[in-house]
Symmetry: C2
């Protein structure tokens, strides 16, 4: 374990403040993140959440923790409008496309995994599905029933919120008061099974035409959406675990219900640190498919969209996301992404430059202090934008050494090389977007630069101009210095 | 639907002969393939099976069928030595590596998906897991019990093979006689629960230390390995479906048991066409981890192995596999792969050449007849090696046209372009291995060839030699013809 691990503070949404991070079991972290409902191509806003928690996961690993990272796939039970009534999101899509629901699940799980891999997100250690844990969900419902916090009604089972609230504060995570919740809740049609409007479904009886259904002690049906995360986190991380992450929009009711379900089934509040990532907006407005103010990852990467002036690589988008704190909203605009692209290129260029710097006896900068700032930023609730600012301090210094205006000692160079790799590649998860192509390009570019050198030596300006123009057309820029020419 | 679809014949392992293919429902194909047990990196022999069935899937789609392709992931129940006693393969690996079994499942599912994607195999439409279908398996066991073909013993449930054999021929798929099977089976220790040694487990009671276990009407336990495929194929394809594929080694007992389970639970033999892919050997011997005569896909692609002289790309390996019929054994040797690499390059080069051929009024070859041969090969039980031979007839012709020795008409060129794309790219699943790199390389190579042309025009032999050597060092060969220079 790194010494810096003892300094980590995490903003806990339940406490409403930053708290020192001490895991339940020394050296180990149990980490659960609510995954996607796989009924459509993954939303860019969801991607931001998953990339934020990928950065958290990477930093915990870097600190030396053995992390068990569980992120679920919701493939049943999530009803349209996140409600207790209505059609299952996946079943609806399956009906529209005349497919078996599991074909929809497969199609969009593949899309999700593909996009996550483009964003260089590390897959979780376990990726459980809701349909794969029906038995565990039934067992948890039974325990909640046995403890008196739920009731059966017409083949469905509902969580009794008011009963639970007598002994436990329902609404504590989202800061809601139950009286306000009750007065703000209308009784909707089709909710006659419930004793009170605030109650939420643990198990729903299934109409005969319903495809995704299983037998249970209460009849044939399917689990409520909130339940799966409680059942799967308990199975793989235990009744109490360290960190639970998810999007801000899941705080209420989803995570509030998770606390209630865990507590009602085994008497323990399940999560030690609740973390919530903030929203993404597009040109200042909420992203929404229905208003058309929405963009898919693929459309961003190919440039095939009406919002952006050009295509942006997944690594530039990832870097852009890292420039905002995960708890702040982030606005996608063409201008902001262009600026991020420049910053990203500059950063990656400096990482490359760092490999070939010349050393002297003394450093003109306090390199250990600079690296200390990297840790300080990340230990302050994973403050990636502050880290990025510090990385650009390093970039300035690296370029200064390259240009002979600054100096670096041998030991400092080794430390800075390690630290830049750790923080840029391992923790922020940025990799050189062009890597694959460059391998093949490199030997040919050696040849071209050689021919260019020769043409200049011969004062053959026609040829040297032709090479310059040809490379420009290929999107390659060449930089000359005393040490020779480099290209990017 | 293409007219050629009516000519398809499939070798049905149960009938022991090629049969005309007529699906249960016109225009639709239900297709199930036994997937991997995810407790280690996927074996090259398994890859061959999956690539063979990927080719089958691709051809069925090409013919115009709407195919529902289901391939499972075995994540519980497959015991060491494929036996009824002993440790679960995944639980054993989890114990050795001190991980939760589902972490093992995730690690090797990711490996499997990655390798399949390198081999350009299309993912199935549904990829169900055994742990995700415990309820369905329990329901099927109950049906078999109710029908009198199974018995409970000490919290386990066994299939009663002799009872089943009174009314149905057990052993029909593998051509075994039950008398021989009985006389060849020894009673092993720990099998006291069984009435007869041939009986196989549908449900196993779980020892207290067992991690992967679920409640059932017979106590806490886990499903038998053979059962999952029956339960999942029934759920997603129905009690009877068209094609079931798998490796030859699964014929007995796994597929034999699937027939028995399906028949015993609902009275129907589940599969209309049984297909079995053959083995892969390495230097003439069975691949086996224990003897060290084994090679992983990754080791093949990187060249990091003791068997091959060099690295081979996934597409070359795939092409190599397509040069043998899926029902024949195939021997991996360095020499054979080198030869395949040459053939693959020649084929892909011709596909490229085909884009720029000059047309004349008449073709010197009967192109529609040649294309007819492509279909004839594939319609003969997916005879890919015969298809490859016919594709090389096309290569010869294409190069002949390029060299001015043969001619092709405009219509024939269009048909041949379509057919070569269909059979090489869509059906054999071969894509240009260098594509990614070439995109970036192309504009720079345009420049280099231009400079080379200029040097030659100026009789500047030094420069032209330098370019030749530089390109050779980069592994690029240039071909000159009247129409200009091409590189590869």
């Amino acid at each position: 374990m790194r010494a810096e691990a003892s300094q980590l503070k995490i903003y806990d949404s339940l406490a409403g403040e930053k708290r020192n991070f001490t895991p339940l079991k020394e050296g180990f972290v149990g980490f659960y993140v609510c995954g996607p409902t796989v009924y459509s191509n993954v939303h860019l806003g969801n991607c931001r959440t998953f990339i934020s928690f990928d950065m958290v996961y990477r930093y915990l690993i870097h600190l030396g923790y053995k992390v068990r990272y569980v992120r679920n796939i919701t493939d049943v039970g999530h009803l349209v409008d996140d409600a207790d009534q209505g059609e299952d999101k996946i079943a609806k899509k399956a009906r529209l496309e005349q497919l078996e629901p599991m074909e929809i699940v497969q199609q969009y799980s593949l899309d999700f995994h593909h996009v996550m891999s483009q964003f260089n997100a590390i897959p979780p250690n376990i990726e459980p599905t809701a349909t794969g844990h029906i038995i565990e969900q039934i067992q948890m419902i039974q325990a909640i029933l046995d403890n008196g916090f739920a009731y059966e009604s017409n083949g469905s089972v509902y969580f009794d919120v008011e009963k639970y609230n007598e002994s436990h504060p329902y609404g504590e995570l989202s800061g809601r008061k139950i009286e306000d919740l009750i007065s703000n809740t209308r009784t909707l049609d089709g909710q006659e099974e419930k004793r009170a409007p605030l109650d939420f479904a643990l198990w729903k009886n299934a109409a005969p035409e319903h495809i995704m259904k299983w037998p249970s002690p209460w009849g044939v049906g399917f689990p409520g959406w909130h339940l799966e995360c409680s059942a799967m986190s308990t199975k793989y991380l235990g009744e109490e675990f360290d960190i639970h992450g998810g999007g801000m929009d899941l705080k209420f009711p989803h995570h509030e219900c998770e606390i209630a379900q865990g507590t009602a089934s085994n008497g323990k509040s399940p999560v030690k640190y609740w973390m919530h990532g903030n929203m993404l907006t597009l040109n200042g407005q909420k992203m929404s498919k229905s208003t058309g103010n929405s963009i898919l990852p693929k459309e961003l990467f190919t440039g095939d969209n009406k919002f952006m002036e050009k295509a942006f690589s997944p690594m530039v988008v990832r870097f852009f996301m890292m420039q905002a704190h995960y708890r702040s909203t982030l606005d996608f605009t063409s201008e902001a992404l262009m600026a991020a692209e420049k910053g990203y290129d500059k950063l990656m260029e400096a990482v490359k430059t760092l490999q070939d710097l010349k050393v002297t006896n003394e450093s003109s900068m306090d390199v250990p202090a600079l690296i200390g700032q990297f840790y300080k930023a990340m230990n302050d609730d994973f403050n990636a934008p502050v880290l990025v600012a510090q990385l650009f301090e390093a970039v300035k210094f690296i370029n200064g050494v390259r240009d002979g205006k600054q100096t670096i000692s041998k030991d400092d160079l080794a430390s800075l090389q390690t630290a830049m790799h750790d923080f840029v590649v391992e923790i922020l998860g940025l990799e050189n977007a062009e890597q694959g192509g460059e391998e093949k390009l490199a030997p040919v570019m050696d040849l071209v630069l050689d021919l260019r050198q020769q043409a200049r030596a011969n004062k053959d300006w026609d040829t040297s101009d032709k090479i310059r123009d040809g490379l420009a057309a290929a999107g390659i820029t060449v930089k000359d210095s005393k040490e020779g020419s480099t290209w990017s």
